[in-house]
């Protein structure tokens, strides 16, 4: 094995031989150290999307004019922006911070939140909500006890301090994430349409201002280099210092400062400093503009002595933004930064030269065409091959697994499932996040989707949900991705909001593995075609490759975020059962579908067969029924059916409402299938007597099948025909104990859970 000392510098920085040759051709000479570092980080997988680009184009090809109608900014911008009416726009995006979180879980997760929040700010928006999708190893694994509590504390430590409510997310345990946890952070921002900002530098002579935190050595090559290499223990150790460190209070100042700058109209173009830092921000601003840019590194406020030009350019110090400002506005701009006690410095200017020129200590250290960094990175057509093991995986169906048959066995299965790490209460996580701050939160966990009001006068609001099921994706990445889309769509729809747009975080193994690339390509096709079927566009997102331990990739894990709008948040449908005396309805059809199910995983440790069927027309129809039912007040409570099936939905709805229910399972169906199958396109509803006729008619009009399951009652018991009854107290104990017993620090028991 050769050691890094013996590699040429470009290889040490992760550039391939042909990539280096391309740099020589572009420049017509050997690059300076600073230029080499810039190409290395900007051409990394993380920044350039060089392996995914050819596939991601399919999103554009499948987005119709009708889908673009509300789209003010789409893929390629810092975040997608959609118009939601009355002069309001909403921007949202999900992004991964997987590799930093593996190395340093607290700071990795914290800066993941900080990074996505600045993406949202760069669109001219105020961040109004967060959601975090987490995936870690087995619940009882030692490393999970290291990673999960620190990730949760990091998200809370940053998000809570920032004053942005966390209103959603997921937590999934699976052995495939044992050495490679996934931390995907989503942020939603709201803005007036007129305040939409662009990330481009135009107008020769306009000034380039760097503001926010000082630039230090933390996070050099952090995301960019970390995210582009697989993990071995040794590599993880040597990269310890390269994870960024978050300063949430400066982040909060930056939010307020930007809001005031946008309000005052002082910003012509703006870009946040995230992966690849100043290098990325300047080259993207310059590349998107029409001219060029000159940057003087001596003007950059530093917090470490002796930093080289390459280090200053590639530092990923947090809480920094870069703006393009008219010369006459610079004083006013600086005054606002001073009010928020943020350092701000003119570091350069827009030029008409078409070059990005960087000087340091009086000499030129960089002189290159900015497009070659930001937009003309190499593009790879990686080999794609369906893994030969895929047929065997699909042939290993769950039909052979032993199923519970007696009322006692069904009861025992239900209790076991409710307490399983996959299905138990997430309160241990979500109670560490502030869901109330800003005073506009209408729905938060354990609701199916989070909802915040964006306008107190009109009561307009937005709902957001994230979903992903990697086991379904392992069995069929095309359908699995559509199932994630369908579930996120349904989770938004059950609140009464109308889904409008999609963001995606595509977490996969190494793109050099043809089997991984097949999973990726299938997932992209599934998502693009699913979005086209539902009529909502993908507005942006993130690809995270190299999620693997050694040569073993994680399960393919596309995480899908769906955002919806609701005209009047007072019309939202609460998650749960409604009120005593209401009828319990099940919308949709239940089939014998256990491939990739929670039951097969938890009870039999089995993964095989095919995932549940997808019916996006039915999902759309259910969404339409619920939007109408919400507007007309026909429904008192709703809950989406997903992992764990009807049994899990009933338990969560009962516990959330503090009400019992008596349930008759429909027809001649096997009670086990009815209770635990994970057929998609199903929703549980509480229907008040006054809503029954109109709701029945709505369902008929939209071709949505209805099963009348029973009634909601005040007795604290869940009675299901064919299953020995369960008290809410025993269900609550089973559901709530699992995570605290696994993750509360010994000797420091958490607070007792409140009663309802």
């Amino acid at each position: 094995m050769s050691t890094p000392e013996h590699l040429p510098p470009y290889q040490e920085l992760g550039l391939a031989d042909d990539e280096y040759a391309q740099i020589l051709r572009i420049l017509g000479r050997a690059p300076s150290a600073a230029e080499l570092a810039m190409y290395a980080v900007m051409w990394s997988e993380h920044c350039s999307y060089k392996s995914s680009k050819v596939h991601l184009r399919y999103f554009g090809q499948t987005t119709t004019e009708a889908m673009r109608q509300r789209l003010l900014a789409g893929i390629g911008e810092n975040a997608g922006v959609i118009e939601v009416g009355e002069g309001w726009a909403v921007t949202f995006k999900i992004e991964s911070h997987n590799h930093p979180s593996a190395v340093e879980p607290y700071q990795g997760a914290a800066t993941g939140v900080g990074g996505i929040v600045r993406d949202i700010m760069a669109m001219g928006a105020r961040p109004i909500a967060l959601a975090d999708s987490l995936r870690v190893g087995p619940a009882d694994a030692a490393d999970t006890a290291r990673v999960l509590p620190a990730v949760v504390a990091g998200i809370g430590g940053y998000g809570n301090c920032l004053g942005v409510p966390t209103i959603g997310g997921e937590l999934v345990f699976d052995p495939s994430y044992a050495g490679n946890p996934l931390v995907n952070a989503l942020c939603v921002g709201a803005l007036r349409v007129a305040q939409l900002q662009a990330a481009h530098a135009s107008g020769t002579g306009n000034q380039v201002v760097l503001f926010g935190a000082r630039t230090g050595r933390d996070g050099i090559g952090g995301v960019s280099v970390l995210a582009s290499e697989s993990f071995s223990t040794e590599a993880a150790r040597t990269k310890l210092p390269s994870v960024q460190v978050g300063d949430p209070f400066t982040g909060k100042m930056l939010i307020e400062c930007c809001a005031e700058l946008f309000e005052a109209g002082l910003v012509l173009g703006i870009q946040d400093l995230g992966g690849a830092g100043l290098c990325c921000a300047t080259s993207e601003l310059a590349s998107a503009g029409e001219g060029g840019m000159r940057v003087d590194l001596d003007a950059v406020p530093l917090r470490a002595p002796g930093m080289t030009p390459a280090e200053i350019l590639c530092s990923e110090s947090q809480e920094r933004m870069c703006a393009v400002v008219r010369p006459g506005d610079v004083d006013a701009f600086m005054k606002i930064c001073a009010k928020w006690e943020l350092p701000a410095t003119v570091i350069g200017a827009v030029t008409g030269e078409g070059r990005l020129v960087v000087t340091w200590h009086g000499g030129k250290v960089v002189d290159l065409p900015p497009r070659t960094l930001a937009h003309e990175a190499p593009v790879y057509h990686r080999p794609v091959r369906r893994p030969p093991t895929q047929d065997a995986l699909q042939a290993s169906t769950p039909d052979v697994l032993a199923r519970p048959g007696t009322p006692h066995a069904l009861r025992a299965t239900l209790l076991r499932m409710v307490a399983s790490p996959g299905l138990c209460s997430r309160a241990w996580v979500t109670d560490q996040y502030d869901r109330y701050v800003r005073g506009a939160t209408v729905l938060a966990p354990p609701s199916d989707a989070g909802m915040v009001r964006i306008d107190e006068t009109t009561q307009r609001g937005v709902a957001v949900a994230t979903d992903g099921n990697a086991r379904y994706c392992a069995l069929d990445p095309y359908l699995g991705t559509q199932l994630a889309l369908a579930e996120a769509y349904r989770n938004v729809a059950v609140t009464g909001a109308t889904p409008l747009a999609v963001t995606d975080c595509l977490n996969f193994g190494a793109p050099t593995d043809p089997g991984v690339m097949w999973q990726f390509a299938q997932a992209v096709r599934g998502l693009a075609e699913g979005c086209a079927a539902l009529g909502i566009p993908v507005t942006g997102g993130n690809v995270s490759f190299y999620n693997q331990t050694g040569n073993t990739p994680i399960l393919p894990t596309p995480v899908i975020g769906v955002l919806g709008v609701i005209d009047d948040v007072r019309r939202r449908i609460p998650t749960g059962l409604g009120a005593a005396g209401d009828a319990l309805w099940l919308l949709g059809e239940t089939r014998d579908e256990f491939g990739g199910s929670e039951w097969a995983h938890e009870v039999h440790g089995h993964l095989g067969g095919r995932p549940p069927a997808v019916d996006l027309a039915r999902e759309w129809a259910i969404g339409a029924v619920l939007a109408a039912a919400s507007a007309d007040g026909l429904v008192s409570g709703a809950h989406d059916l997903s992992e764990g099936g009807l049994a899990q939905a009933l338990v969560e709805a009962c516990l959330g409402s503090g009400l019992g229910a008596s349930v008759r399972l429909p027809g001649q169906a096997d009670p086990f299938v009815t209770l635990f199958s994970e057929s998609s396109a199903r929703v549980l509803l509480g229907v008040p007597p006054t809503g029954v006729p109109a709701l029945a008619q709505l369902c008929t009009e939209h071709g949505v099948p209805v099963s009348r399951l029973g009634e909601v009652h005040t007795a604290p018991v869940l009675e299901i025909a064919g299953v020995v009854p369960l008290t809410l107290a025993e269900l609550r104990a089973a559901w709530e104990r699992t995570l605290p017993s696994l993750f509360d620090t010994p000797g420091h028991a958490g607070p007792p859970r409140p009663g309802w």
């Binding site: 504390a153 809370g156 430590g157 809570n160 301090c161 004053g163 300063d247 949430p248 209070f249 400066t250 909060k252 979500t430 109670d431 560490q432 996040y433 502030d434 869901r435 109330y436 701050v437 005073g439 506009a440 939160t441 209408v442 009001r453 948040v569 007072r570 509360d744 620090t745 420091h748 028991a749 958490g750 607070p751 007792p752 859970r753 409140p754 009663g755």
Partner: protein, 200 residues
């Protein structure tokens, strides 16, 4: 009206709410830096004149750091941030902020804090109890290990109240668990409008 931290004036306001929210990122100690800002000097002066002051969460921490209330807030016993709808008992109506509550009333108000565990030496705790200055107590389980289940305390004259839970999040059933927090603000308005005789 919003007051600015760097100005040592209250701009003529008749009551002050020191809100929650991680002032200075809770760096050093929660509330320690904010308690030394110019605006707090103005608050301390005004307290001498009897202006009603309510400190919520970080505001409570700031009032303790500023010496306006005794004791301190330290990290929760469970070590985690705790966000939950918290049941409280109103132990005293004899403050500028709780006149509208019946003594012993039970209310539900969101609690959301990492350093919410009230501590004080035993003499201070005994004095607080004796003088009936414990205004709110946690019910249904102590969420953070606070001494005597204390969620909020008042100054000896009842004009200054500090509490960890957030009554401003319990003003609308749409965005909070109840409307139980409204009466804090109504109580202070009663005092300011003179519609209720001052209790002290």
């Amino acid at each position: 009206m919003c007051l600015w931290h760097a100005e040592d004036t209250l701009r003529g306001v008749q009551a002050v709410v020191v809100p929650g929210g991680f002032s200075y990122g809770d760096y050093l100690r929660a509330g320690a830096i904010a308690a030394r800002q110019p605006v707090l000097r103005a608050v301390i002066d005004a307290v001498q004149r009897g202006i009603p002051v309510l400190g919520i969460c970080n505001g409570f921490q700031i009032l303790c750091e500023a010496g306006l209330l005794p004791g301190a807030l330290v990290r929760n016993a469970g070590l985690h941030f705790v966000c939950r709808d918290q049941r409280l008992r109103v132990e005293s109506s004899a403050t500028a902020w709780t006149g509208r509550y019946a003594p012993g009333a039970e209310i539900v108000v969101p609690l959301k804090s990492l350093e919410g565990r009230y501590v004080a030496d035993s003499a201070t705790l005994a004095a607080l109890e004796r003088q009936r200055r414990v205004v709110f107590r946690y019910l249904g389980g102590n969420p953070n290990g606070a001494a005597h289940d204390i969620a909020g305390i008042a100054s000896a004259d009842g004009r200054v109240l500090g509490m960890m839970p957030h009554p401003e999040h319990a003003i609308d059933p749409l965005t909070g668990p109840s409307t139980d927090g409204l009466d804090l603000f109504r109580s202070a308005i009663d005092i300011l409008l003179g519609s209720v005789r001052s209790f002290s």
